[in-house]
């Protein structure tokens, strides 16, 4: 095992941990189990990469334009899917992500289609383009820390409590004056722009993007697998899981290439806790004597 391998492992772990934190804001706090984050990751990857390679715009600006674009898309998507529940919301999020992928393949003039886009820039901090791995480790660590801080901040904010209330019982939350539309749309915008930033880092790290590897359905599955859809107190756990999942991938990638390792990446995990709906049901029946927040703190 060379140092190169461990570096690769660390960078991927940190970036995906960050994306999982962003995903968790919608899927964990708000309980909207989305499998469509490849769309946001893709927007975050394509926007700065195209702007940098075609117009020489620094990815430091491009990544925020990408995040803004992802937030706009998220606002639209969450507005449309506001009424969908449970598996229907999941199916709808998959449909949106697939539309995004097909459009990325279709508009060859802009995205280069299935051929993909090879990034070749002058290596420097301004272009976020390096020929070796250590600088990316720094970027990935900063990104993961930022996402972690945002996730924890939201969990402690008014928005966080409103999201949890919506997840546990929508009509009760509504009757207590939680503005459903604003809270849902706001949370998905924050969550999507966070994922888009992660997409940017992934794109500049791999230095190659194409619709099939950057926007595939399996990319959407990643944050969901990394995360348990739980609160931020367990945020370190997905990071460790990530490491355990990256390790076989990074090593097989060296030996037999990228495509054939999918099955090892999508390992199944047994449930660790009851689901939110269950907890809500127990709560309503008065069987739970303490609320979820305190039980989580105690844990």
């Amino acid at each position: 095992m060379s140092g190169e391998f461990w570096l690769d492992l660390a960078v991927l772990t940190l970036v995906w941990a960050g994306i999982a934190c962003a995903w968790n804001i919608l899927a964990g706090y708000a309980g909207q189990f989305s499998l469509g984050y490849s769309a946001y990751i893709g927007i975050g990857a394509y926007t700065p990469a195209l702007l940098a390679s075609k117009y020489g715009l620094s990815p430091w600006i491009g990544m925020f334009l990408g995040a803004l674009l992802a937030a706009t898309a998220a606002a639209f998507i969450s507005g449309v899917s506001l009424r969908a529940r449970g598996p229907f919301f999941t199916l709808m999020s998959i449909a949106f992500a697939e539309v995004a992928r097909i459009l990325a393949v279709y508009f060859k003039g802009i995205t280069n289609g299935s051929e993909g886009l090879m990034l070749e820039l002058r290596p420097s901090w301004a272009t976020l383009y390096f020929l070796d791995k250590p600088p990316y480790l720094l970027v990935a660590a900063a990104y993961a820390a930022l996402m972690f801080a945002i996730a924890v901040g939201i969990r402690r904010s008014r928005l966080g409590f409103q999201l949890l209330a919506l997840r546990e019982d929508e009509s009760a939350a509504r009757s207590l004056g939680v503005p459903v539309l604003r809270v849902r749309v706001g949370a998905s915008m924050i969550s999507a722009s966070g994922a888009a930033l992660g997409g940017t880092i992934l794109a500049f790290y791999t230095q190659f993007i194409d619709p099939d590897s950057t926007m595939s359905f399996l990319i959407s599955v990643q944050p969901a697998l990394d995360h348990d859809a739980r609160g931020p107190r367990q945020l370190l756990r997905p990071a460790f899981r990530r490491a355990s999942r990256c390790a076989p991938r990074a090593s097989t990638q060296k030996h037999i290439g990228r495509r054939s390792v999918r099955s090892s990446r999508t390992r199944l995990r047994p449930p660790t806790h009851g689901d939110p709906a269950d907890n809500a049901r127990r709560h309503r029946r008065g069987m739970a004597s303490h609320d979820q927040t305190t039980s989580r703190k105690a844990r």
């Binding site: 499998l35 449309v80 899917s81 999941t90 709808m92 097909i102 599955v221 449930p271 689901d275």
Partner: protein
């Protein structure tokens, strides 16, 4: 030209309806997004293909493949799905998704990525009616779709187990309070759905190729059809399937054939946003069984 497109759209739609009927049965009763349904179709198509290599006509292979798939489905429900029914939603999703990815990769490893098809004398035969040409295998598939859906309808309406299946779909808890063995109902439903997939595979073989990811293509359309037609509505799945078939053919003419999936998904998203119960589903049916 348009008439021909609509006719072939209806015939293609018949195939979609067939896949959608089986998916609707499983999704409607178990409330599980069975991502592996497409891989079951793929396995059944390979079975039909290998039987053809041994000299069995695909239509005769139905007698072997459909019961075989029923057994596979029952086993899969008993050993895999049943354990996750009370688990959180994402676990249910990952179980079938994991199964789907595993089956796809095993198929890739064993059968390789080649496109395989059968050759039969009737394959390219065409029936010409009033200036429209109709492909014989597609007509057979269409007729089989109508027959099997009719049989399924009678089964669900008239037999005891059929009534139990419908009761479980409406309310799992109440059904079990009325003395229905819900686990048994789930297993029968899953087996029945898988047998229908086996039937579909044999009907598809003379028309289509088989390759490891063939299922994904059909299952995506099938989800669109199920949601469009309405959960738990057999007639909805058939009408939805035909509608999507026609829309697909026409979008090839008017927009661009490579964007046809965008058209499906647009239909899908619109239906979910405006009328989540679908065209024929009962209002509120989409929330049943979720709470």
């Amino acid at each position: 030209m348009i008439a021909q497109l609509i006719t072939s759209g209806v015939l293609v739609g018949g195939l979609y309806a067939l896949v959608a009927v089986s998916l609707n049965l499983v999704f409607g009763v178990l409330r599980i997004i069975n991502f592996a349904q497409g891989e079951f179709l793929m396995l059944a198509m390979y079975a039909a293909y290998w039987l053809w290599r041994l000299g069995v006509d695909p239509y005769l292979a139905i007698l072997v493949v459909a019961p075989g798939m029923a057994i596979l489905g029952a086993a899969c429900e008993k050993f895999l799905i049943r354990r996750t029914l009370s688990a959180p939603a994402h676990v249910k999703i990952f179980v079938t998704l994991g199964l789907s990815i595993a089956l796809q990769n095993i198929a890739l490893l064993w059968f390789k990525a080649d496109y395989l098809n059968v050759r039969a004398s009737y394959q390219t035969s065409i029936l010409s009616v009033a200036g429209l040409s109709l492909s014989i295998p597609r007509l057979i598939a269409f007729a089989a779709m109508l027959l099997s859906s009719g049989a399924l309808y009678l089964f669900l309406q008239r037999t005891d187990i059929g009534k139990a299946i419908r009761a479980t779909a409406q309310d799992r808890a109440t059904a079990s309070l009325m003395g229905i063995d819900v686990d048994h109902v789930y297993m029968v439903t899953f087996a029945l759905g898988s047998a229908l997939v086996g039937l579909t595979a044999c009907l598809l073989m003379p028309i289509y190729y088989v390759f490891p990811t063939v299922g994904t293509e059909f299952v995506i359309v099938a989800f669109v059809v199920v949601v469009l037609g309405g959960l738990g509505s057999l007639a909805g799945s058939i009408v939805g399937g035909l509608l999507i078939g026609v829309v697909e053919q026409l979008s090839g003419l008017f927009i661009d054939i490579s964007l046809r999936q965008v058209v499906y998904f647009a239909v899908f998203i619109l239906v979910l946003a405006i009328r989540p119960a679908g065209l024929f589903g009962l209002r509120g049916a989409e929330e049943m069984g979720l709470k």
